[in-house]
C-alpha cells in the first residue's frame, strides 16, 4: 500500500469510526446508566434517517433535519421509557424481548409509512464537494463527519464531567440504587437518559444517511455495529465508546480491503479477539453480575 493510499484509507476508517461513535454513544449511555441493552437502537437510527428524508423534502434543509430528527426521537424515548421500560427494571430478558418487539413494530411501520424502496439522502449543499488532499480529492462531507464526531465527544464529555446532570449520570452508572437513596429522582433521570440515547441514535441516522443510504434492513446492521463498538470499547463509559469506534472504524475499513473473502467476519473476529484478551472490553471494569 502506497503512502497516499494508506492516508486515504485511514481517513475512510476515521470517518467511518466517527459515524460509529455517534451511533454507539447512545447505546453505551443507556446500557451504562440503566443496564438495558436497547435492541431497538437500530430501529431508532433508522427512524431518524427516514424522518430526515421527510424533513428535507418539506424544508429543503439538511440542518433542520439534523435538529428535528433527534428531537423527535428524544420525544419518542421520553414516552417509551416510562410507558414500557420502567416496569421491567432488573428483568433483563424481559427487557430484551420488549426492545426487540419495539424494534419490529418501528421498522415495519417505517415500511408502511415511507415505503420499502431503497432511498438516499444528499449531503447538504456546501458539504457535498471535495477538497484536494494528500493522495487526491477527498469528500468534504466525510471530513465534516470526523469533525462532528470529535465535537460530539467533546460536548458529551463536558456535560458528563462539568454539569450536575452529568454527575448524576456518572453516579447512576456506578450505583443507581444508591443515587436514588440519596434523593435524586431516578425515574426522571432514566427517562431522560433513554431519551438522550434515542436522540443520539436519531442524530446518527441523519448524519449517516448521506454516506450509507436508507433501505430495509439498515436497522440490523446499525445495531450490530453499535453493539460491537460498545462491547469492545467497554460498556457504559463514554471513553469506551470513543475507543471502540476509533478501533473498529479503521479496523473494519482496512480489514475489508485486506481480507476480502472474510470481510463479513472481520469486525467479529476483532470482537472475539478483544473479548478473549480483555473480557470486559478495552476500557471496561469488572462488573459484578447485576
Amino acid at each position: 500500500m502506497s503512502a497516499e493510499l494508506l492516508f486515504q484509507q485511514a481517513l475512510n476508517g476515521l470517518s467511518f469510526g466517527a459515524l460509529l461513535f455517534i451511533l454507539a454513544a447512545g447505546l453505551s449511555l443507556v446500557f451504562g446508566m440503566m443496564d438495558v441493552v436497547n435492541l431497538a437502537h437500530g430501529a431508532f437510527y433508522m427512524l431518524g434517517a427516514y424522518l430526515a428524508l421527510s424533513v428535507v423534502q418539506l424544508t429543503g434543509s439538511f440542518w433542520v433535519a439534523m435538529l428535528a430528527a433527534p428531537l423527535a426521537l428524544g420525544l419518542l424515548g421520553l414516552i417509551l421509557e416510562p410507558l414500557l421500560l420502567r416496569r421491567l427494571r432488573g428483568r433483563h430478558l424481559d427487557q430484551v424481548l420488549l426492545t426487540i418487539g419495539v424494534s419490529l413494530i418501528v421498522v415495519d411501520q417505517i415500511g408502511v409509512v415511507w415505503g420499502r424502496e431503497v432511498r438516499s439522502l444528499a449531503a447538504p449543499a456546501g458539504l457535498d464537494g471535495s477538497v484536494a488532499l494528500f493522495g487526491g480529492d477527498y469528500p468534504v462531507y466525510r471530513l465534516f463527519v470526523i469533525g462532528l464526531g470529535i465535537a460530539l465527544a467533546a460536548v458529551v464529555t463536558l456535560v458528563y464531567r462539568r454539569t450536575a446532570l452529568g454527575m448524576h449520570i456518572r453516579a447512576g452508572v456506578e450505583d443507581a440504587q444508591m443515587l436514588g437513596a440519596l434523593g435524586v429522582d431516578i425515574d426522571r433521570l432514566f427517562a431522560l437518559t433513554f431519551a438522550a440515547g434515542a436522540a443520539l441514535a436519531g442524530l446518527a441516522g441523519v448524519v449517516a444517511a448521506p454516506v450509507f443510504g436508507l433501505q430495509p434492513g439498515m436497522d440490523v446492521d446499525a445495531l450490530l455495529y453499535s453493539l460491537v463498538v460498545v462491547v469492545v470499547g467497554g460498556l457504559g463509559t463514554l471513553g469506551g465508546a470513543v475507543v471502540g469506534s476509533v478501533l473498529i472504524g479503521p479496523a473494519d475499513t482496512f480489514g475489508k480491503v485486506l481480507f476480502q473473502e472474510f470481510a463479513l467476519a472481520v469486525i467479529f473476529a476483532i470482537v472475539a479477539l478483544v473479548l478473549l484478551l480483555r473480557p470486559t472490553g478495552l476500557l471496561g471494569r469488572i462488573r459484578i453480575a447485576r
Binding site: 428483568r91 431503497v118 487526491g136 466525510r142 454516506v211 443510504g213 475499513t253 480491503v257 473473502e261 470481510a263
Partner: protein, 425 residues
C-alpha cells in the same frame, strides 16, 4: 444478565409466573387461529381441480414484499395488476385469482410458501421468485409436483442448464424463465467491449452468487478476445461503506472497471464513485444492467451519466410495444417502469399466449409446458421466445449508456448484441 429477579423467587417456590404468559399465549393463539383459521387452514378456494377452461385460474405469486428486495416485489406486483387490468382480469377467457405470498428474502419461508401453493392453494401456475437461492431451493419441489413455474427474476445460471447431479439446481420441463440468465447480461458485453478494443478490466462486484457469476461470465467474454482482468475488489453483499473499495480502485492503474451491483449496493457504489472523483480521474465504469436500473437511477440521477451497461431492456427502447407499455404503466402508476416490471409483464404475457394455445386447459402439465415452449410474441424488450432446450428467453442484449435528457436520467441504447441464448451447460 444473570438473575431473573422475581422470576427466580417464583421458580423456587414451585410455580412460574410464566404460566400466565403461557395461558395468554395459548388463548391468543387460539383466538387468532379462530379468526384466521378458515382462511389459513382451509385452502383459499375449493380444493377441486380448477384446471378446466372457464373456471378461475389460480396463479401463485411468490414475491418479496418485506426485506431488502421489497421494492422489486412491489414493482412486479404493479406489472401483474397492470397486465390483468388491460386484459379484463382474464387470461384465455378464464378469470384470474392471484395469490400473493411474501418470501421476505428468507429462503426457508419461500420454500414453505411454495409448498403452500402446491399442497394448500393448489395453484395452476406459479410465478415470481426474486432471489436465486430460493429458485434453486424450490426447483425440486416444483419439478416433482409438475407445477408450471415461470421465474420472473432469479437469474442464476443453473436454473436453466444441464447440471451434473442437478446441484445446486438444473433445468426442468416445468420451469420457465421470463427474465434472464446472469450469463446473458455479463458475457455479451465482455465479448462486445473486448472485440472493440477495450480489453483490460478491473472488476468490482458484490461478493455473492450473482456477483461472482457475473464477474466470471464477463471475464470469459473478454478473454475470448485476448482481454484480461487486472484485479478486483469484492465488497460483501449489503455493504454499508463503499469508500474503502472505491479508494482501492482509484489507486490502481486500470481505468476500465466492470462492476456488478444492484439496488442499494449500486446506489452506494455510484455515489461513492462520484464523491471520490473517479470519473474526473479518468476511470470508466461498465456493468451488468442492474447497476443502472430505474430503482438506482431514481436515487443517483445524473451521477450515473456515462456508465455503460448491458441489459435486455431499457425504458428508452424504441419499439411500439415498449412505448405502449411505458405509457400504460405511467398512466396507471405515477412511475417509470423498471426491468423487474418488464420481466413480470412478459411472464404474464407468455402465460396468456400459452393458455390461448391450450384453450385455457391447464390440466395436462406436459402439454402446458409444450405450449409455453411455443410462445412467441412482441414484448417491450423486442421479440420474445423461450429457448426450447433451456426455457430461458432468447433475447437481444442492448448496450446502454446513461444520459440525462429532458430532465430524466435514463439508459439510452447505443448498440445491441442480437438474439443471445444461454449456452445451457
Amino acid at each position: 444478565m444473570a438473575g431473573f429477579g422475581k422470576n427466580e423467587l417464583a421458580a423456587r417456590r414451585g410455580y412460574s409466573y410464566r404460566l400466565t404468559r403461557r395461558q395468554f399465549l395459548i388463548a391468543s393463539s387460539a383466538a387468532a387461529l379462530a379468526a384466521c383459521g378458515p382462511a389459513a387452514v382451509a385452502p383459499t378456494a375449493s380444493g377441486s381441480p380448477s384446471a378446466s377452461p372457464g373456471k378461475t385460474l389460480k396463479i401463485g405469486q411468490l414475491l418479496p414484499f418485506t426485506g431488502v428486495y421489497a421494492e422489486l416485489g412491489n414493482s412486479m406486483r404493479r406489472a401483474t395488476e397492470l397486465y390483468l387490468k388491460l386484459n379484463d382480469n382474464k387470461l384465455a377467457n378464464r378469470p384470474v385469482q392471484l395469490i400473493y405470498e411474501d418470501d421476505a428474502n428468507v429462503t426457508a419461508t419461500g420454500i414453505q410458501k411454495t409448498q403452500k401453493f402446491i399442497d394448500q392453494d393448489q395453484v395452476d401456475v406459479m410465478m415470481g421468485v426474486v432471489p436465486t437461492p430460493l429458485a434453486y431451493g424450490i426447483r425440486n419441489a416444483v419439478h416433482a409436483a409438475k407445477m408450471i413455474f415461470i421465474d420472473t427474476n432469479a437469474g442464476g445460471n443453473f436454473l436453466t442448464r444441464d447440471v451434473p447431479n442437478c446441484t445446486p439446481a438444473c433445468k426442468s420441463p416445468y420451469i420457465f424463465r421470463a427474465s434472464f440468465s446472469s450469463y446473458q447480461i455479463s458475457y455479451p458485453i465482455g465479448d462486445y467491449l473486448s472485440a472493440k478494443g477495450t480489453k483490460d478490466f478491473f472488476l468490482a462486484y458484490a461478493n455473492y452468487g450473482f456477483g461472482t457469476e457475473s464477474a466470471a461470465d464477463f471475464t470469459t467474454g473478454i478473454k475470448k478476445n485476448g482481454g484480461s482482468v487486472t484485479g478486483n475488489v469484492a465488497p460483501p453483499l449489503g455493504n454499508a461503506d463503499f469508500a474503502p473499495f472505491v479508494t482501492q480502485i482509484k489507486n490502481q492503474p486500470t481505468k476500465n472497471v466492470y462492476s456488478f451491483f444492484s439496488g442499494a449496493d449500486a446506489i452506494g457504489f455510484i455515489k461513492t464513485w462520484n464523491q471520490l472523483g473517479l470519473t474526473a480521474a479518468g476511470y470508466k465504469l461498465y456493468g451488468a444492467g442492474f447497476l443502472t436500473e430505474q430503482d438506482v437511477l431514481k436515487e443517483v440521477k445524473d451521477l450515473a451519466n456515462g456508465i455503460v451497461t448491458s441489459l435486455f431492456w431499457a425504458v428508452e427502447l424504441d419499439n411500439a410495444e415498449n412505448k405502449k407499455f411505458v405509457a400504460d404503466y405511467q398512466k396507471q402508476y405515477p412511475l417509470l417502469p423498471d426491468v423487474f416490471a418488464v420481466q413480470q409483464y412478459d411472464g404474464m404475457r407468455a402465460l396468456d399466449e400459452a393458455l390461448k394455445k391450450l384453450g385455457g386447459d391447464t390440466s395436462d402439465k406436459d402439454k402446458f409446458s409444450k405450449a409455453l415452449e411455443d410462445v412467441s410474441f412482441k414484448s417491450p424488450r423486442g421479440d420474445f421466445a423461450f429457448d426450447k432446450t433451456t426455457h430461458n428467453p432468447i433475447q437481444d442484449i442492448y448496450i446502454r449508456e446513461v444520459k440525462t435528457q429532458g430532465g430524466q436520467t435514463v439508459n439510452t441504447i447505443s448498440d445491441k448484441v442480437a438474439k443471445v441464448t444461454d449456452p445451457g451447460k
